[in-house]
């Protein structure tokens, strides 16, 4: 029997596989395909204080081994979540994690404060890295001072597990991980999408209405793995790795590079059951390598 459970600084997951925000809806969209309760955790689509219509269509462009999106955090706001969605997701026997967003610090604090009243939510993922929502032309997560302030403000009102999701669009991601650690975050997750762009050469128009958007999928995996490796050596809090994970081997690579858990994102669009197949695949890997606990893989890179 392989022990697949992981303890992320107090947040216990039955296995290291979490679904990534914005790629798993509110979970129930997957009920036809998988038993959502088998997952280590699910991170719900990004939520904001007020409802958001998101960006205009087209919001998606396929690229080589990846895709760009510019959804822009379309959601019905935290109020709607509490009344309509929370009762449904509470039924899942898995860690339900809320991805919290805002245009300014007050927004973040407001959402986090309201979530405090929801007993089933043991963790929030603080998204300071959405490339499709701007603050003074620059995402929160790419300016040290504003990253620090928003983490500090949310930490003040939220005393359960705080996971901070980092942006890869920075010169040195470890600086931001260290800031998160200093401000009392319980874990960091990385990477969010890389800022990219696509052009239609025939029409000479951008393929996204917003011109630029976030790149995800296997194309970004080498960058994500590098950042997970760098960050896991720079901080003591657990690292949750993601970016282009398509199968169990990819997931294991992130664990080896230093991640304590992983998130499956874009892959779920193509194979809606891939997250549970990755759990099985990690179990197989452990058996094949005679590992009794999945935690033995974390940081096992041989230099």
């Amino acid at each position: 029997m392989v022990d697949l459970s992981v303890n992320l600084n107090g947040l216990v997951l039955k296995n290291p596989v979490i679904t990534a925000s914005g790629t798993f809806g509110y979970g129930s969209e997957f009920d036809d395909f998988i038993d959502v309760s088998r997952l280590g955790g699910i991170i719900l689509k990004g939520i904001t204080a007020e409802p958001r219509e998101g960006n205009p269509y087209p919001r998606m462009a396929e690229t080589a081994s990846g895709m760009l999106n510019s959804v822009g955090l379309q959601n019905k706001g935290i109020g709607h979540f509490i009344s309509e969605i929370y009762p449904v997701v509470s039924e899942y026997d898995t860690q339900v994690i809320l991805n919290v967003n805002g245009n300014n610090i007050d927004d973040y604090v407001k959402v986090a404060g309201l979530v405090s009243g929801l007993g089933k939510i043991n963790a929030i993922e603080l998204n300071i890295s959405c490339p499709n929502v701007k603050m003074g032309g620059m995402a929160f997560g790419t300016v040290r001072q504003s990253a620090r302030e928003v983490i500090r403000a949310v930490r003040n009102v939220w005393n359960r597990h705080l996971m901070v999701k980092l942006s890869p669009n920075v010169t040195n991601i470890t600086e931001f991980a260290v800031i998160a650690e200093e401000e009392g975050a319980d874990s960091v997750s990385l990477i969010n999408t890389l800022l990219g762009m696509a052009v239609d050469s025939e029409s000479r128009r951008p393929r996204l209405a917003t011109v630029t958007g976030g790149l995800s999928g296997p194309a970004v995996k080498p960058v994500a793995l590098r950042m997970v490796w760098q960050v896991s050596r720079a901080v003591k809090i657990p690292v949750v790795g993601l970016g282009g994970i398509m199968n169990a081997a990819d997931a294991v690579e992130f664990l080896i590079a230093g991640a304590s858990a992983i998130q499956v994102g874009t892959a779920s669009f193509i194979d809606p059951d891939i997250s549970v197949r990755i759990i099985d695949g990690i179990g197989d890997y452990c058996r094949r390598h005679s590992l009794s606990r999945v935690t033995q893989i974390t940081g096992s890179l041989e230099l």
């Binding site: 269509y57 087209p58 998606m60 080589a64 895709m67 874009t266 669009f269």
Partner: protein
């Protein structure tokens, strides 16, 4: 019907017009509740340029045999690869996805308007309408006679009128210029085709105060409501064409 991920076998693949293919797939699902207007997401294996699945309408579904047919027009690498599928090949599909057309009531007069490969969902819709005792009128628009698709199957289901832009077959012009629209009137119009054509039909329907549903082909990443990439701006805000659609009543669209 519960959505599912399924490996299906290609039973047959034939080119019905230049660059347009009909693939018959053996789903093994007899009497399944697959509704007209729904679609499937096809995984394209072994093509370097196709990362995401590709959506295709249910062109036909035979409930007694479980055979589901797709009409595939070659538009790029994914459809090209699919057009080369051979008997016995396996395809992985996620289906059935999306909402479906609202079927007409007894005795209503029904017009099915298709443009080019937009006819894809109309055959199965027409068959279901005919089964309910109504003979639909098809109005199919094409660029030129060379691009007209086989109409034999449609003729078994209802009346078929054709327009071509160059007049090389049927009446000359766009579907909205066809005489059937001035001669007859309809209770329901169902439409699928290129967006400009659907907008012209919608304008006609609004003008004549006719009920009208259109099927939208927006870019999709997931196809089952999680990515929010496929939205259309409606009177109720941004809705997903993959779950709230692809079929929309024109009165809800901001056209």
């Amino acid at each position: 019907m519960t959505r599912q991920i399924r490996d299906v076998k290609v039973l047959n693949n034939r080119e019905i017009s230049k660059g347009v293919f009909i693939l018959d797939l053996s789903t093994g699902l007899v009497d399944a509740a697959i509704e007209p207007g729904q679609f499937v997401q096809v995984k394209i294996e072994g093509s370097r340029e196709t990362f995401l699945r590709r959506p295709f309408s249910v062109h036909d579904y035979d409930a007694s045999t479980g055979i589901l047919s797709l009409l595939v027009q070659v538009a790029g690498p994914g459809s090209l690869k699919l057009s080369g599928a051979g008997k016995g090949d396996s395809l992985n599909i996620v289906f059935p996805l999306g909402n479906s057309f609202t079927l007409p009531l007894n005795g209503e007069r029904v017009l099915l308007v298709g443009g080019g490969c937009g006819v894809a969902p109309l055959l199965y819709l027409g068959k279901r309408i005919r089964k309910a005792g109504i003979e639909p009128q098809f109005l199919l628009g094409f660029r030129e006679s060379r691009s007209v698709l086989e109409t034999g199957e449609y003729e078994l289901v209802g009346k078929v009128s054709i327009t071509t832009e160059d007049g090389s077959m049927g009446e000359k012009g766009f579907v909205t210029q066809h005489s059937v629209l001035s001669v007859d009137s309809f209770d329901r119009i169902y439409c699928c085709g290129p967006e400009p054509m659907m907008k012209a039909v919608a304008a006609y329907a609004l003008r004549t105060d006719t009920w009208c549903e259109v099927s939208l082909e927006h870019l999709m990443a997931c196809g089952f409501g999680v990515c929010l990439c496929c939205v259309v701006d409606t009177t109720a805000g941004n809705l997903c064409t993959c779950t709230d659609g692809p079929v929309f009543n024109i009165k809800n669209l901001k056209w």
